[in-house]
């Protein structure tokens, strides 16, 4: 029973394709909220709060320049988290979509892997739109928010970040049997990560052990990667990328195993 199941690329793609089919029908309405939210943060915190922070305050950048790339990372986290919690739960328990899929040559492990890939894709799609908006806004207001050609690597980075948060979200989903328990995940995991991963202030300036703890959390590295790519990276970014890849790989099979047990008795 406990044999490790490795997803098949074919089945994974079929599940991804199902989600893409639906996304293509509704992408305009689906895209909008994820698009506005970071813009609101940017306006309220970047311009509002930023006005109280002296120019050149954080690492030689204006406040809005400092937070913009971090919001790209958190946007990916939110997109992938909603996908892998509420949306996955509905397909698992309410619409029973997965029950229908696993009676076909697409196995339970393919379903989970397809959802990982899809959550990453969605994060990348949303993030790319947001990146374009940031670039244009920055140029329009004479305060460039994206200053490096390395930023072209942000969409694939967001894919990677989205997959990472899909794995953690799916892990939580595979353990619960009531949809209202997701408030624990968002209040105790997603929100603290959002606040303490160096998006709004450099976490390194906090007293120990806050920076050390932050190093062990996923969004911190995602923010580092996005910020580095937005302004031009140093080799240190490879550590963050490696952290994300190792964390994702180490955890990915666990939700697959747990979800399979929920779909196949």
């Amino acid at each position: 029973m406990a044999t490790l199941r490795i997803p098949s690329p074919r089945g994974t793609f079929r599940v991804w394709q199902r989600n893409m089919t639906i996304f293509r029908k509704y992408w305009k309405t689906l895209l909008l909220p994820n698009f506005f939210e970071p813009l609101l943060y940017l306006a309220a915190l970047g311009l509002g709060l930023g006005a109280f922070i002296q120019r050149g305050g954080i690492e030689g950048q204006s406040y809005v320049q400092f937070i913009a790339p971090g919001l790209l990372a958190s946007n990916a986290m939110f997109a992938a988290s909603f996908e892998s919690t509420f949306n996955t739960y509905v397909k698992l328990k309410i619409q029973r979509t997965y029950d229908a899929i696993v009676t076909t040559p697409v196995n339970a492990e393919d379903v989970v892997a397809g959802e990982y890939l899809w959550a990453g894709t969605r994060a990348a799609l949303y993030g790319t739109g947001f990146l374009a908006v940031l670039t244009v806004l920055g140029l329009a207001f004479g305060e460039p928010l994206i200053t490096s050609w390395w930023a072209l690597l942000i969409p694939p980075a967001l894919l990677m970040i989205g997959i990472m948060f899909s794995v953690t979200g799916t892990l939580f989903t595979s353990l619960i049997d009531r949809i209202d328990l997701f408030s624990y995940y968002f209040t105790l995991v997603v929100t603290p990560l959002f606040l303490f991963s160096g998006i709004f202030f450099p976490i390194e300036d906090f007293p120990a052990p806050v920076p050390q703890v932050a190093w062990f959390t996923p969004l911190y590295h995602a923010v580092n990667v996005c910020r580095a790519l937005a302004v031009g990276p140093t080799p240190a970014v490879l550590v963050d990328v490696a952290w994300i890849l190792i964390f994702t790989a180490a955890l990915a099979l666990l939700p697959i195993h747990l979800m399979r047990r929920r779909l196949i008795s």
Partner: protein
């Protein structure tokens, strides 16, 4: 039971589609299926009749890989199931008990997306989906949402979906439960057409009429075990007399009736204030009862059915 059934139907050489031997499934301490043995022949409609909780659905789930057997052997479409999960699923179609249509997709899209899970090329899936909507009389609903369909339409769409890969075996778990009589007859009609096309059908039901209407052979399940099996006619002939007399009487009269009846009939079952009397000669028995002068409130005479077989074997009625 198997060899006996084969001998009686004279079909021992027929090609098998599904073979189960001592098939078991436990959930913790609970044994849902306690070692069942059966064979389904190619091209027949094979039924599992029994009340809720008899282990029918669990048996079906093992056939299509949604439940992993904890004991015994199971071969589906000539393949041992646990080693050939994907290949078996490629060759069968599944109509689940609960509607799990994809609500995010329109009616036609449900079939097309499902076809992709079987790697059907786009054009093949388009053509097949159109034919299947025609087959289940849903062509006009191709662009409707799933929510807009009635219960009967959803069930027909589930049947169409199960056929998208042109399966050799179709597994249907309670295909008409919850449908009104008209919708039920339409589903029966479609299922009969499938068997006439040579597909093997395996279905569960707790309606004895459905089993009698559709199944070439069936087994009766109760408490995770197969109680008996055979063709509907064989089972009735073997286990009950051809005629049933149903008598309704006051409680004190029932006792007196029992003594008269037990001496003169093949078998008697008591269900509340009703006596079900299985006899070869209902007329003669009725005369004896009249002669005794015991007051009878209501009398009904009918042909014996599968429901009676079930009652005889388990002492319980199919639908409580």
């Amino acid at each position: 039971m198997n060899t006996e059934t084969q001998r009686r139907t004279g079909s021992g050489t027929r090609e098998t589609s599904i073979v189960a031997r001592g098939l078991k499934k436990s959930y913790g301490d609970f044994e849902a299926v306690k070692g069942v043995t059966f064979e389904v022949y190619r091209g027949e409609c094979f039924g599992f009749l029994g009340p809720n909780g008899a282990g029918k659905t669990t048996t079906m789930k093992m056939l299509y890989g949604a439940a992993v057997p904890t004991g015994g052997e199971l071969t589906v479409a000539g393949l041992e199931i646990t080693q050939n999960e994907r290949e078996v699923k490629r060759r069968i179609g599944v109509v689940p008990q609960e509607d799990n249509l994809d609500n995010d997709l329109k009616v036609l899209e449900n079939l097309l997306v499902y076809g992709r899970y079987f790697d059907l090329p786009r054009k093949v899936a388009q053509k097949k989906a159109g034919e299947l909507l025609e087959f289940v009389q849903l062509s006009e609903k191709a662009d409707a949402t799933v929510e807009q369909l009635s219960g009967g339409m959803k069930r027909r769409l589930l049947i169409a979906r199960a056929l998208i890969n042109d399966p050799e075996i179709v597994v249907l778990d309670e295909p008409t439960t919850g449908l009104d009589p008209q919708a039920r007859h339409l589903v029966w009609d479609r299922l009969r057409e499938l068997t006439s096309e040579g597909k093997t059908l395996v279905l569960t039901t707790h309606y004895m009429e459905e089993a009698a209407q559709l199944c070439d052979r069936l087994v009766i399940m109760e408490g995770g075990e197969i109680v008996t099996g055979g063709s509907p006619r064989e089972m009735i002939e073997e286990h009950v007399s051809p005629e049933v007399l149903e008598l309704r009487a006051a409680p004190e009269a029932i006792e007196r009736l029992l003594t008269i009846v037990e001496a003169n009939a093949g078998a008697v079952e008591r269900a509340g204030e009703t006596l079900l009397i299985y006899t070869a000669d209902a007329g003669a028995l009725m005369e004896k009862i009249h002669a005794s002068g015991v007051p009878v409130e209501n009398t009904m005479y009918r042909q014996a059915g599968l429901e009676d077989v079930f009652l005889r074997l388990t002492g319980r009625q199919l639908i409580d």
